[in-house]
């Protein structure tokens, strides 16, 4: 577990350095989901960094809220999908690390483009159905923003997965309560989110998303709930900007980059554990 926490610290360094390096990108949600991506790629997923698109016999992960690409790219690079030095090309011209993830530049680890919100759960369901058709017992994981649930396509997908019993799918909602224009309660109140998923026929669990022990335990529990006729959702409570004190808990750092001084301040809070890129 200490090892996972060390990796998370390095990934957070990568996130703020990537966003600072190009003076654009989305640090807030990336920092909030760092424990989740770290636990997934370094503990939970049975995956092969020698990337193959079809992913037969592997667990698959789909990032629907593609704007948190910094944490996704860092987790992929740090787990061996591509050279960590490539993180320095984030959002720059001729890079495979586009602002939002894409298959178009053939970056290993990415299976579908995301960024235009609300599409990832449908794709994850399709991949889960393909696994069933292929008699492949591995699982499909997906991550979605809570603000992203404003998009109606999610509810089409949530209805489908519940109705059809897509029980090899574990979807996680980053339940940080923030979106671009402010708190979700003000912009579009999600009301009783657990009850909503339950009503659609999902197995609902909750998880503290910034506590590494809780994340590993929560994902492990979710895996144990698969194969029982219901899709699984993890409502993951996180703090946007977690790990950098001046970015924490506010939508203000959804999509802006730190300046030189802020970077220095942020890095001082995040031990370098695996070597910077």
């Amino acid at each position: 577990m200490d090892n996972l926490k060390d990796i998370a610290s390095q990934i957070r360094r990568d996130i703020v350095r990537m966003v600072h390096g190009v003076q654009s990108g989305h640090p807030g949600g990336s920092l909030g989901c760092t424990e989740f991506l770290t636990a997934l790629y370094f503990n939970i997923l049975e995956h092969n960094p020698d990337f193959k698109m079809e992913g037969i016999g592997e667990d698959l992960f789909f990032l629907s809220n593609g704007h948190i690409s910094p944490v996704f790219y860092s987790a992929l690079a740090r787990s061996g999908y591509f050279p960590i030095q490539e993180l320095s090309t984030f959002r720059k011209i001729n890079s495979r690390l586009q602002g939002h993830p894409t298959t178009h530049e053939n970056l290993p680890g990415v299976r579908v483009a995301s960024g235009s919100l609300g599409q990832g759960m449908s794709v994850a369901i399709g991949a889960a159905l393909a696994k069933k058709l292929n008699n492949d017992s591995k699982l499909v994981f997906s991550l979605h923003g809570d603000g992203e649930l404003d998009e109606g396509q999610n509810w089409e997908a949530i209805m489908f997965a519940g109705a059809k019993g897509v029980d090899n799918l574990i979807s996680t909602i980053d339940w940080n309560g923030q979106q671009i224009d402010g708190p979700t309660k003000k912009v579009m109140d999600l009301k009783n989110l657990p009850a909503k998923f339950e009503a659609f026929g999902w197995e609902v669990t909750e998880m503290e998303g910034n506590d590494m022990d809780a994340v590993v335990a929560g994902l492990t529990k979710a895996k144990s709930l698969t194969g029982k006729g219901k899709p699984i959702v993890i409502l993951m409570k996180t703090i946007m900007g977690k790990g950098v004190d001046f970015m924490e808990g506010t939508h203000e750092w959804h999509g802006i980059a730190p300046n030189d001084e802020q970077l220095k301040n942020a890095l001082a809070q995040l031990p370098e554990t695996m070597g910077d890129y």
Partner: protein
Amino acid sequence: MLNTIEVTGNKDTRSGFGDGILEAGRDNDQVVALTADLAGSLKLQAFMKEFPERFIQVGIAEANMIGIAAGLAIGGKIPFTTTFANFSTGRVYDQIRQSVAYSNKNVKICASHAGLTLGEDGATHQILEDIGLMKMLPGMTVVVPCDYNQTKAATKAIAKFEGPVYLRFGRPVWPIFTKEEDFVLGKAQHMNEGKDVSVFACGHLVWKAVEAARILEVKGISVELINIHTIKPLDVEAVKASIQKTGCAVTCEEHNIIGGLGDSIAQVAARHNPIPIEYIGTNDTFGESGKPMDLLVKYGLDTDNIVAAVEKVMMRKK
């Protein structure tokens, strides 16, 4: 060649799709059919009966259907999505753009009830912009077959082709006048050799163009009739060769003249050989309720309109 074109029956093109996907499903167990509550309209009954495990009912949720198809393609499946053309394209443009086209997924978007000949349901369902929407997407192949046999052939051909495809067909019973084996994806189909004018047509209007060419032949006008069933990628060499020979062209489509087949032909002409062109298609308008044939007449997409357009474009040539 005009005199060898023979009507061998009458059937709707959507039935060609239904029969084609059944054969594609028998040929390749990776073929999966999805529908958004329109399995009957898309003639999927036989496929559903033979391959129930490869049929996915998504309900009235087209956006979700496109996304699920993209996910199935990731797992090596060859998903065919089915609904009306309007709900296959305009309703789900961004889903197709991001999850299918930009992500280069091997998804076949199969669209029935395209154009005015949908008939009585009216303009909410009669999409006349879908060819344009789909051909603008990088990497998208756009296929508009002309009759039952060709739709069946095209359905089987796209199952073997790797990459995203938009396949457009329709509702009305229509003459069958081509042979399955004459369809080659991406290759223009020469229906008649001629020297005075090139007529490029797609979909239902290929038959109307055949009728027009016969009338024009009697009038002493030699029509080169080319069926452009694959609008993208366009068989540019065939278009160039024909307009080089004839020096003028008429394009015929059941679609807005803005953004459709006519624009694709005009772009080839503008780049390689500027010639006069007349367009048969709807002119920046929505459709309306009515019988299919009455609508083709009202909106200027009938045989007589093609004859008149040919005579006009030949005047412009002189």
